[in-house]
Symmetry: C2
Subunit: 218 residues, 2 copies
DNA sequence: TAACCTAAGTTAGATATGCTAACTTATTGA
DNA sequence: TCAATAAGTTAGCATATCTAACTTAGGTTA
């Protein structure tokens, strides 16, 4: 038993080879991003957490930015998946379903503010543009599809892409202002969920079709 | 003449006392912010531009952040003034006037992306919260007033603050997505002015009241 | 099993930044 | 006029990113 513990300790602490430093660094960076925001993070800190020297990361990443790119890419995948799940639950092609996408977007932004900022923040930070663009496109495309389905169902003739962009714009604005604390300092106590749920039908041009989905606390 | 030139050269280059280093540093920082974005800027660079050593700024600012705070504060003043001017020109209490505020907000964001990001970016960066909050409040308050005036005029009963927040949210989203290049990579060629001018009446609950104000190129 | 190859660490160091302390120069005003 | 002070300078500390050269451990193959 003691031997086993010792072996574990050795495996965890003393081993020359870390085991999976790449993943460990990504995880540490994410944690630091959560703790200190998108700028307060340092590579050296991540190394300390992973228990390696500050030169070690360069065996796995070209530079600091490449770690960030990896995290951004994963963020887009996560967001896309969350949106898809929201649509499926809310009901494809319905106001509720489309509202659910917006709320899922907001939830993601609030849950991972730093990652969200890196994802949509000014792009010069991101070299691996292809990958990111693809994910972004997929996100919007799914909204367009839902809006188109909704329009067909209700005999609307409006341009689905135009409406989808309006929805995205509003939801992105709400998410940004919420996670940057701008609402808080100008309109404290605002319920952002209600805000999105209230405007979505308006932008869809819906008269009414039942109430908004989940109406959580804040 | 030669003497005069020499004196000028001395005044510009050699003098021990800079003359107005404080303003010079603020100007240099703004330029660097424009060139390298809100993060790429270094205090040392600003010093080089102003022609002083890297220790000089600390005679005028507590630290790097204090320069940024000054720039943010001035940004809010500028934005507030621009909005006021837009309303006056577009017509107070009209759809055109309210749309003009939104477009002025957008114009500011596009003209000074880095400053805009610092102004609305996550607030932990800003210590001098009081000043900033005041300016922010004044901005929104003027929109609320315009919406209220509009509502009175048309006999609407809607909550002016609620509508103002919806407008702000949309315009802020449009500005953010535009200046971060997110529209460009997902819907190239989009006309953001039209986007704002198209949605503003909808959010105001206006049937129609004449066309949007200026309909510039992009 | 032994020996080698290579992936994945390490140490050492070059360069840059933010900021402080102690010193120097110019301006100002009593 | 000269002393006080505002506004620079030099020197140096701590920390960050990243490179180069070295070392160690694991896996493959003879």
């Amino acid at each position: 038993m003691v031997q086993a513990q010792e072996r574990t300790a050795v495996r965890a602490k003393k081993r020359f080879h870390h085991g999976d430093l790449r993943e460990a660094l990504i995880a540490a960076t994410r944690d630091l991003l959560i703790e200190h925001g998108p700028d307060g993070f340092t590579l050296a800190d991540a190394c300390r957490r992973a228990g390696v020297t500050t030169a070690a990361p360069y065996k796995h990443f070209r530079d600091k930015q490449e770690i960030i790119e990896e995290i951004v890419a994963r963020g887009f995948e996560e967001l896309t998946a969350a949106n898809a799940k929201a649509v499926a639950e809310g009901g494809p092609g319905t106001v509720a379903g489309i509202t659910a996408i917006g709320l899922s977007y907001l939830d993601f932004a609030v849950a991972q503010p730093a990652v969200f900022r890196l994802m949509f923040g000014h792009k010069s930070k991101i070299r691996k543009v292809n990958h990111v663009d693809e994910s972004g496109n997929r996100c919007l495309k799914s909204v367009i599809e839902q809006v188109a389905a909704y329009s067909r169902k209700h005999g609307h003739t409006a341009d689905a892409e135009k409406i989808a962009i309006r929805l995205w714009t509003f939801v992105h604005g709400a998410s940004s202002l919420e996670l940057d604390g701008d609402y808080e300092r100008v309109a404290p106590g605002l319920n952002v969920h209600d805000l999105i749920a209230g405007v979505t039908p308006k932008l869809l041009g819906a008269a009414s079709e039942g109430r908004a989905p989940r109406g959580k606390k804040r």
